[in-house]
Symmetry: C2
Subunit: 344 residues, 2 copies
């Protein structure tokens, strides 16, 4: 019987049990209406024929969806990989399936990916926008039927938004370096046109301001938020004297790249230069030296994002909310160094 190529359907089971399809449907969804003996018979037959529920057909009829689309830049970034893991975990627990999409940081590709995912009728969307995303174009694609949660970067428009507390995080890191005695502190990495980078710089500047330190233009070094680019840009920190003695990095990838860049110049983070990161990706704890960083717990943020979008599905009327989890500083060896001028 299972040798047959075709799918086993409700109708097959109904015929075999000499019942109507309606009754089988009730059994499948655990309705208390159906007689215990009947239920047992049906369940045996379901197992015997290897029936598998066609959720798509049921969803079509019921006009519901059990999928949520997750659109991110790229899983290669551990931050997003952790985030995605958290999203998937929480969605699975709630009985939803995750439709994956990645944009590779391209706004064009993002349009294509969203449009393709929409055809699969997701109940909701979680989007970490690619750089250069245009809110109007996205809205035009989505219409107003599909709720979306925007994560990590601002996108304007009337969507739910889950943000990291970038200002506070960068401020904490900067204050920590100031407390160690540093006065010449760089902000290293990231692109100025990314909202998260702007916010982190703002926190950095605020901390300097509170300590009556005037930030120097050469303390701001831009670079793509990757390890490799950061390593390449390391030299830019030391072109002028007096050079900074510490750097608040845009994120952990950049910080790890900077530490590698320092090493190739015979310097060592935590020994003659202080470095802080942002994200607390798993590598941060095991790098050499371990990296002082701002914990944002991407996996927990992923779970949170999933829960927010699920909540929005239940209550479509509730106003779009802005949730900002508090950032927390993890002090490790990479920043545990006092500047030369202040030591001894």
């Amino acid at each position: 019987m299972p040798a047959s190529r075709g799918r086993v359907t409700l109708t097959d089971i109904a015929r075999a049990c000499d019942l109507s399809r309606a009754t089988i449907s009730l059994v499948l969804r655990g309705s208390p209406l159906v007689n215990a003996e009947t239920r047992a018979r049906v369940e045996a037959e379901l197992k015997r024929q290897g029936y598998v529920y066609h959720r798509g057909a049921a969803n079509l009829r019921r006009k519901v969806s059990s999928a949520v689309a997750l659109v991110i830049n790229d899983l290669s970034n551990p931050f997003f990989a952790e985030f995605a893991a958290g999203v998937d975990e929480a969605l699975a627990d709630a009985g939803y399936v995750t439709l994956l999409g990645s944009t590779g940081e391209s706004a064009e590709r993002q349009q294509a990916v969203l449009s393709s995912l929409l055809e699969h009728d997701p109940a909701g969307i979680i989007l970490s926008p690619a750089e250069g995303s245009d809110a109007a174009r996205v809205r035009n694609l989505l219409g107003t039927r599909t709720p979306m949660l925007v994560f990590n970067r601002e996108l304007g428009g009337e969507w739910d938004y889950l943000a990291l507390d970038n200002v506070r995080g960068a401020r904490l890191a900067t204050e920590h370096l100031i407390a160690q005695g540093h006065r010449r502190i760089a902000f290293f990495g990231g692109h100025q046109d990314s909202s998260s980078c702007r916010q982190r710089r703002e926190g950095y500047r605020a901390a300097l301001h509170d300590a009556s330190i005037a930030p120097q233009p050469q303390w701001l070094v831009e670079c793509a938020p990757t390890r490799l680019e950061a390593a390449r840009q390391t030299g830019a920190l030391f072109v002028r004297d007096p050079a900074p003695t510490a750097a608040v990095c845009y994120n952990d990838a950049v910080a790890l790249g900077l530490m590698a860049g320092l090493a190739t110049r015979g310097r060592r983070a935590g020994q003659d230069f202080a470095v802080t990161g942002f994200d607390d990706i798993p590598e941060a704890a095991v790098s050499a030296p371990p990296l002082t960083t701002v914990a944002v717990e991407p996996r927990a943020r992923g779970r949170q994002a999933a829960e927010l979008i699920l909540q929005r599905l239940r209550d479509p009327q509730s106003p779009a909310m802005l949730t900002i989890p508090p950032a927390r500083l993890l002090v490790r060896a990479s920043s545990q160094v006092v500047p030369d001028g202040a030591s001894a």
Copy 2:
């Protein structure tokens, strides 16, 4: 009009254009049968009403599926994250959507995840089996309707299988260390009951054998394939004299953990101990020192896995194939050290 809550359907467009649903359907799928003027009218109306195609309904009618399920252990592992990125990339290019599932290395959870994903009617499945997976149970769940590609670990059963050339990779790494003059070479990390670990040990042993080196039992150190566990187990390499001067590690995570463990003991990979990894995760190139490792190109493997399953969908009759991409050794600084006895 778009203010209405309901979905815009074919019927809405047909009514607005005073045509039948069949004609609209033809337009949607780009049939050449339909009159150019009619097509233009329809397309304008589709745009005007913000129509979005319901692929699920079409698939139901056509008895096809445009989804492929991807089931892995955990996206936290960069190896799997890269693999998943490759799979998603290739599937998207082919017009498929990726249904994500993760098992957290639990065979129980794997059953649950597979069973849930099956209800979403995937055209095929890509599975990297959790440790302790049981082929019979999986087969019982899947039946014979849904083709599956097994990746990375053996699972038995009649499925397509995409394997890394573990034996060859480990052999290459070991031969490289021998060529540097090492004679006491450990195999570090992994669990003996994982097929990939067994295969890598086999390659290691073969290389030793060819060099007439008798492997010592204390050169085999097991540990969970994570950075943290590897760092914790580092001491096990040095409990007896003479200690190994080099280690072939189960994978990159383990190798990075070992390098961290060495650092805390005042040793440094590439200076007084040689280390090789396996996988070539992105960190390997930027660790301090950079890690000599076996490139398996997880992203390319992901694309390959996607292409294999898509091919199987086109040709269900072709026999299950075993594809083994050649492993390649990337020599970097972590292994560029000659043992004490051999130097000077």
